[in-house]
């Protein structure tokens, strides 16, 4: 029972996941670490985990130059702008597209899972993806906002 409108619910999950990812991406600029470096990496004392040589591509884009976290932050900001929505996007066909969001969210999950701080952001993005997927499966659509809404408030 109950009639949950899935894309309206997914919106809250997506905003939360994207904000988390932006915050995680910011900290990934300061404390740079490749999440999967434990795979055949060696531990040095002190110094911590030394990633295996085959990870060098990830080390380049996450540790040496944090390109990936920056991308992740940009993508996260885009998703927040899309879902909040930002004033300039409100009512546009992009903003009302449910298909676009799971695509971006999966990409976000993929980027976030690669750096140390991003795991929760990635998992939450996948939760949001599932919710949007459910909305798609049910054939939900976002209605165009009515412009002729009267001013509310006051009694």
């Amino acid at each position: 029972m109950g009639n949950l409108i899935w894309h309206e619910y997914a919106r809250y999950v997506s905003i939360t996941a994207s904000l988390y990812t932006v915050w995680a991406g910011f900290f990934a600029l300061i404390y740079r670490k490749f999440f999967w470096d434990f795979v055949s990496g060696i531990v040095r004392n002190p110094g911590g985990l030394q990633p295996a040589p085959q990870d060098s591509i990830f080390i380049t884009i996450i540790v040496k130059a944090p390109i990936l976290p920056i991308f992740s932050m940009l993508l996260g900001s885009t998703l927040v702008a899309l879902d909040y929505p930002a004033p300039f996007l409100k009512g546009t066909s992009i903003q009302r597209s449910i298909v676009l969001r799971p695509v971006l969210l999966i990409l976000q999950a993929f980027l976030a899972i690669l750096f140390y701080q991003g795991t929760n952001g990635a998992i939450w993005s996948l939760v949001a993806t599932v919710c949007y997927g459910r909305a798609l499966a049910l054939g939900e659509s976002m209605k165009e906002a009515k412009d002729n809404k009267g001013r509310s408030g006051g009694a």
Binding site: M1, G2, N3, L4, I5, E8, Y9, Y12, V13, T16, A17, W23, F27, Y31, K33, F38, V43, N45, P46, G47, G48, L49, Y116, Q117, T119, N120, I123, W124, V127, S152, G153, G154, A155
Partner: protein, 561 residues
């Protein structure tokens, strides 16, 4: 709208003191947690991590405090018992509001705590102050596992608790919020991994709590935070037991307006006027409890609730008892026709009578119902004030059914407390939809011996077409009863001007016209009890504040759903 954020949070004494105490305590605990970690010589190795560990420990202490507080406002039965004694101290009816404030604070400090720990663990790995990886702490130790798990639960609980989702699909909120059970387990076991220790490896022991307090130097906060959890759990068990006590649905009446009245007999159920209960119909749903206002007075031999078929649950219930939408629609039409007939009006009757559903005529007997409650509402305090102003807007009029009935019973037995007069306002968009309430008002109005005791004011706010206008004008002139409500009281049209109403009342009271002898009293208290939308509540509250003077104290209380 209207007042600014600053105005609301800082310029009213009550809110200011709340903000000061609530956030002050939080900041103090954060500072204390920070200080106690930074100055603890036993934890010198951990303090090598510097700011991040001080921050995480400070925020951890705040979160323990919030984990304690979050369940306190949900102890409904305890609140119901203590609230009459403590209304002066804190607004016990704002428990959900308080629950939300704690939750917001918890989300904020969880962010601080988690962020700090991400920094801690990466530094533990780099410096190898302990021989472990960041990944180990995150995903193999109790603290990390429960922490991530609690964050995920928080994501689900917070998002489904959004008011939009709650209105859309209450079940999604209701079921998801029971993840709180696992959240609390996570909270109580969060420190069992012994992260805060003065040894390189955790010092586990075989006895409860499975780590030695000699080397594990956490706050041991679970010793405190677990109590609201245990009490809450006990309360849920108690509610379940109480709900299983003998309950019988004795009668089911369908009113012409479409409202179903359930008359339930449960001898063990004691309540006061204006309270509400949870009802469960296992035939419709075994798990769901739905809140309804009690519409009978405590003096009645039964407990009644009026249910309109507006949502999933109420419609399913209607179908179950054989009062589906079609039946109700037919009844309503018949009733409206009846109301239009002149002879019916002359009878001084009502808009058609209610119909009792006879279980013998249908194939299925009346369903089993279970009720849980009662739970508090501010309107219990009506008898402590001299003048009670009861304002119901729309469906918010329901608690006043019970209160008016109760006042009527008390009036008959001459036991009114300090109550001298009652002003009842009913602001409603379309009167015909509340037919059942009219019949109740009629009874109460007809029973009034003292014309000055109860005054009924009905405001109809819908737009009125020309036809209806003339219809009213023709029927109203010279008739004994109001054509719309069939009460002696005339219906007023348009929105009430609250400031004017309260100003007039204040003048009448000070000049002694309102209650004889009232001017000799030191102070008159006029209690306003409101149930309805919050915009209206704000307008009325402003009016009460404006009208308060040295000799008259206007108080305001709002009911929540």
């Amino acid at each position: 709208m209207g007042e600014s954020w600053f105005h609301r949070e800082f310029l009213s004494a009550r809110r200011l003191s709340f903000n000061f105490l609530f956030y002050g305590t939080h900041l103090f605990l954060f500072a204390y947690g920070w200080y106690s970690q930074a100055t603890n010589t036993k934890l010198a190795a951990l303090n090598g991590l510097k700011f991040s560990v001080w921050t995480s420990r400070g925020a951890g202490l705040v979160l323990a405090f919030d984990g304690f507080l979050i369940l306190v406002p949900m102890l409904r039965n305890i609140i119901r018992v203590v609230r009459p004694k403590l209304t002066w101290l804190f607004p016990a009816d704002e428990n959900i509001w308080f629950h939300r404030q704690v939750a917001y604070s918890m989300a904020f400090w969880a962010m601080i705590h988690t962020t700090a720990h991400y920094v801690n663990f990466i530094n533990v790995e780099r410096t190898q102050v302990r021989p472990e990886l960041a990944l180990d702490i995150h995903y193999t130790q109790a603290g990390g596992i429960t922490g991530h798990f609690m964050l995920l639960i928080m994501l689900l609980m917070y998002t489904t608790a959004h008011h939009k989702i709650r209105n859309q699909c209450f079940e999604a909120f209701w079921y998801t919020h029971h993840l709180a059970f696992f959240f609390m387990i996570g909270l109580y076991s969060h420190a069992t991994g012994c992260f805060v220790r003065d040894s390189a490896n955790p010092d586990y022991i075989t006895m409860f709590p499975f780590y030695s307090t000699e080397h594990c130097l956490g706050y041991e906060s679970w010793r405190f935070t677990i109590w609201p959890g245990i009490i809450y759990f006990g309360e849920r068990v108690y509610r379940e037991i109480r709900a299983r006590r003998a309950t019988r649905l004795s009668k089911l009446l369908v009113h012409p307006s479409g409202a179903m009245e359930l008359r339930i007999v449960k001898p063990s159920f004691k309540y006061t006027a204006g309270q509400w209960l949870f009802i469960q119909v296992p035939d419709v749903s075994r798990l769901q409890w739905h809140p309804f206002t009690i519409t009978s007075a405590p003096e009645d031999p039964y407990v009644s609730v009026h249910i309109r078929q507006v949502g999933d649950f109420t419609r399913a219930l209607g179908e179950r008892v054989g009062a589906g939408p079609s039946v109700v629609a037919a009844l309503t039409q018949a009733a409206m026709k009846g109301g239009e007939k002149d002879e019916k009006m002359v009878d001084g009757g009502s808009r058609g009578d209610f119909v009792e559903l006879d279980p013998a005529s249908s194939s299925r007997p009346l369903p089993v119902v279970r009720i849980d409650g009662p739970y508090g509402a501010p309107a219990e305090d009506v008898f402590n004030v001299e003048i009670a102003v009861l304002i119901g807007a729309g469906i918010g009029v329901t608690p006043f059914a019970s209160i008016l009935k109760h006042i009527w019973y008390r009036q008959r037995s001459g036991n009114l407390g300090s109550l001298r007069r009652v002003e009842f306002f009913w602001v409603c968009r379309d009167a015909p939809s509340f037919g059942w309430f009219q019949s109740l008002l009629q009874e109460v109005e007809a029973a009034q011996a003292d014309p000055n005791f109860l005054r009924i004011n009905i405001y109809l706010t819908q737009k009125i077409g020309e036809d209806m206008l003339w219809n009213i004008a023709v029927n109203d002139a010279g008739a004994e009863y109001d054509p719309l409500t069939l009460l002696r009281t005339r219906t007023m049209f348009g929105r009430p001007d609250w400031k004017n109403i309260y100003a007039n009342m204040a003048t009448a009271i000070t000049s002694g016209q309102y209650i004889p002898g009232a001017s000799s009293q030191l102070k008159t208290t006029v209690g306003t009890y409101f149930c309805g939308p919050s915009v209206l509540a704000k307008a009325i509250k402003e009016a009460t504040v404006e009208a308060t003077s040295s000799s008259i104290n206007f108080t305001f209380a709002k009911e929540h759903f």
